[in-house]
Symmetry: C3
Subunit: 358 residues, 3 copies
């Protein structure tokens, strides 16, 4: 498949990027595509010389590529940042469709809500008492905004998103379908007779500018203060952020990861997919947490950790390599013991039978 | 609990299955149930002789069972595939209720959308510009269909499902409540000043015939081309399928698993619950990935792998058994060293203190 | 941030708790806050003497605290259960806003549904044929109730929740936004020609009194009987409970955990975050399952297990500590072998190359 748009001259694309054309400046570009699936008329990009063989086979008409790759028969735009420039071209040639400004007649807007006239509210959108929606923000169908929620400018909030009371959303925030912000934090106390009583959660969720949150992700409100997602942070699908967490500027949390309560993630830290963190931890600025890691303690700024429990990268890889050799090592250990007349190489306990925990 | 239906003669049930009755062909069957909870009038099934003691205690009136199980006092239908035949009986005796054809008055259908007259659109359903809904498909309340989505025939799309723009859905597809198809893929590039810029995702999601997708699962659109779920694949609740993945025919992905971008899963492969996969991998036809595995590399066709990092089944089980014996082995190693006058059995480094990654 | 309410005298707060004031009984309390972020006029609580240094710095006007902590300049309410008493104060001073009773004009209520006049149905709520909603229950906007669902009294069901047909909900149940109850269980059988055929799920979900379920969590209907969440159980965000499971009274399942089909969890058991369980297991009363554990077998009542595969707590910690020392132990084993002239300390197999499963 190729995304199509009105044809535009390659020279115009290059000019918008501040780059120059090598080849035919009047070439008409009508679509954006990957190298492998491009068709004539498409523009594609080349990340590095390792893709040179794909370049020789591509049917694309134009390429954005680094200096050290031969464009073959294609017209070319040279770029020190091909992926970044290509993203800009895609945004220009294949912009997302935009609903019309104004509320759909079926939207439910409270009398005291303040919705900018340039904002777009889709079918069935609910904006409750005291809430605000800023200029040019788009709320797709069936978004539910509880009371006292502030949404900034130029946001895109997809269908089925729920923003619970008191939530604050900055500018240019993108929320994918079905994500839930401001659900009650998960906290219970046993009362005098042993019944679990809910800890009331009266804090809120604050999402700063340029944050993006994935489909069906959940961010819980704070117990008393705030759960804060700082400027530019990106959260993938099905991630769980518990009450009172703080996610640093430009931090990245990949799909299905989860942070327990009150954990702070530093600026620019990256949590790869399916990471879990205990509560009340500090994950330092620029830290990198490998996929499927389980954090039980703080992570130093800039550190790279892996595994569950998470260890420093090199230690984790050495441990896994050693584990792979362990069955053989146990045999060798028995041989040594026999040689020394120790224990006679008995099989010892080490079974795996019976219910866990007995 | 027993699902009930109009009574039907056992002979009719047997005839519909192409089987014969052993016992009373005129027995009236009025419900389907499990062996343990069946009441008189119910039909149940027996998987194998290992359930014989339950058969002796059941209150069911009729059983579907293999040749080598004694039906006791029950009338019986013998079957080489008892579970399969029972499923067919359940579908016949306890069919799901079907909403009436046609759109609910509160549904929002764009003027240029094409919805078959036999399709059912529930309250608040949204079908946007250029989208199509095929014959007899059911869209339950508040399903949101963005522009340019095609939905085939005989689909069941449950409440709150969101289908983003451009998504393609084949025939007989079942989508459980709250699943999201076509959310933007998760991809960012640092720009010249270090800010994260979104990679625009202009590809789409293609779901072929007979696919089923679980509640609150998410399947992201491709960057440029397509994310494809092939014919007959089954995806469980809360699964994440990232941009540009491909799931093979009749592949099975169990609950809370996740595939990172561009991973291809072969025909008939099975990913058990909570499996995670790195991106750009190939998981072969018929491969089996154990629950909670973490895939870092390709999996050969037909292979069985376990663990995180995932290893071949036998190697994984041996490693886990060996790990269980490791603390004892370390003591034995010290004893050997003492015997040889080596190192004196010192405790060595092996601590677990200080922040991870320092 | 501080949640605010009308000012109330400290003596009134103490009286409602059945406690006494130490200090100024006429002090006007106007908000609840955490120790660190409290402002004058706020009441906060102190869990134990380990927070004494925060007490010295707090700006709160009043504290609820145990006998052995010095309240400094604050007026005080002494309590043997400070956290519990504080939760009661928060509920009183910062109660959640309540929508008006009755259905919103845009709600869709079937003619034969029975909705108590004191229940509140938000915009776009759907209550289908034969369903019931009890006194004072609140259904927030766009909740979808399929046919034959019973909802008890004093429930709070947040926006976007979907309750599939036949579901039963007790009294005082709280469902966070986007959770799905009664989706079809995940079960397929290969038919005679190898195609996957769905196992029809005609059982139901039963949720007893005082249960709370988190945002975007999923609980599947049973194949034939019931999936049951017993009285007082608490389920966190993005948890998956498969068909035919049973969760015991006051059991706790923390975020992103998953139970496979037919697993029974005992009364008061705790499954920490990201736990996974195989199917058909019994997890005993009062068992504790550590975060990220993977259960493959039954867990005894009261047992504490960790890891994947899950082991008894002490065994797991010893194994992890030993694993950390394994690379060094392998070096030491080679030294021993050299000393004895065995094997010459060869590097042996232990590689990690080639596709998994080859």
């Amino acid at each position: 498949m190729t995304a199509t748009a009105l044809p535009v001259e390659l020279a115009d694309i290059a000019a918008a990027l501040g780059r120059k054309v090598e080849g035919d400046p009047h070439l008409l570009v009508s679509g954006v595509a990957a190298l492998e699936s491009a068709r004539p008329g498409d523009i594609a990009f080349v990340r590095s010389p390792s893709y040179s063989s794909l370049v020789q086979r591509t049917r694309a008409s134009a390429l954005i590529l680094p200096d050290d790759v031969d464009p073959g028969a294609c017209s070319a735009i040279r770029s020190p940042h091909p992926a970044l420039d290509f993203a800009r071209v895609v945004e220009r040639l294949a912009p997302p469709s935009r609903p019309l400004p104004g509320p759909d007649p079926s939207a439910h807007v409270a009398a005291d809500a303040r919705v900018d006239a340039s904002a777009s509210l889709g079918a069935g959108v609910v904006v409750q008492s005291g809430s605000r929606v800023g200029a040019r923000s788009i709320l797709h169908p069936h978004v539910v905004v509880y009371p006292d929620v502030h949404i900034g400018q130029d946001c895109v909030i997809h269908a089925g998103v729920v923003l619970r009371e008191g939530t604050r959303i900055g500018d240019r925030v993108v929320l994918q379908p079905g994500c839930v912000l401001g659900g009650d934090g998960f906290g219970y106390i046993a009362d005098e007779v042993g019944e679990l009583r809910r800890v009331p959660h009266v804090g809120r969720v604050i999402v700063e500018d340029d944050v993006e949150i994935g489909a069906n992700a959940t961010v819980d409100r704070a117990t008393l203060d705030e759960t804060r997602i700082r400027r530019g942070a990106k959260i993938d699908n099905l991630v769980q952020i518990a009450h009172n967490c703080e996610l640093g500027e430009n931090a990245i949390v990949v799909a299905q990861s989860g942070l327990s309560g009150s954990t702070k993630v530093g600026r620019g830290a990256v949590l790869m997919a399916r990471t879990g963190s205990a509560g009340h931890l500090a994950i330092g600025d620029g830290a990198f947490v490998g996929a499927r890691s389980g954090l039980h303690r703080d992570v130093a700024p800039g550190a790279r950790v892996f595994g569950s429990p998470a260890w420093p990268e090199r230690r984790w890889h050495k441990a896994m390599a050693a584990l792979s050799r362990l069955p053989d090592a146990l045999r060798r250990l028995r041989a040594v013991e026999r040689e020394l007349g120790l224990r006679g190489g008995s099989r010892d306990q080490g079974d795996d039978g019976g219910p866990a925990g007995e």
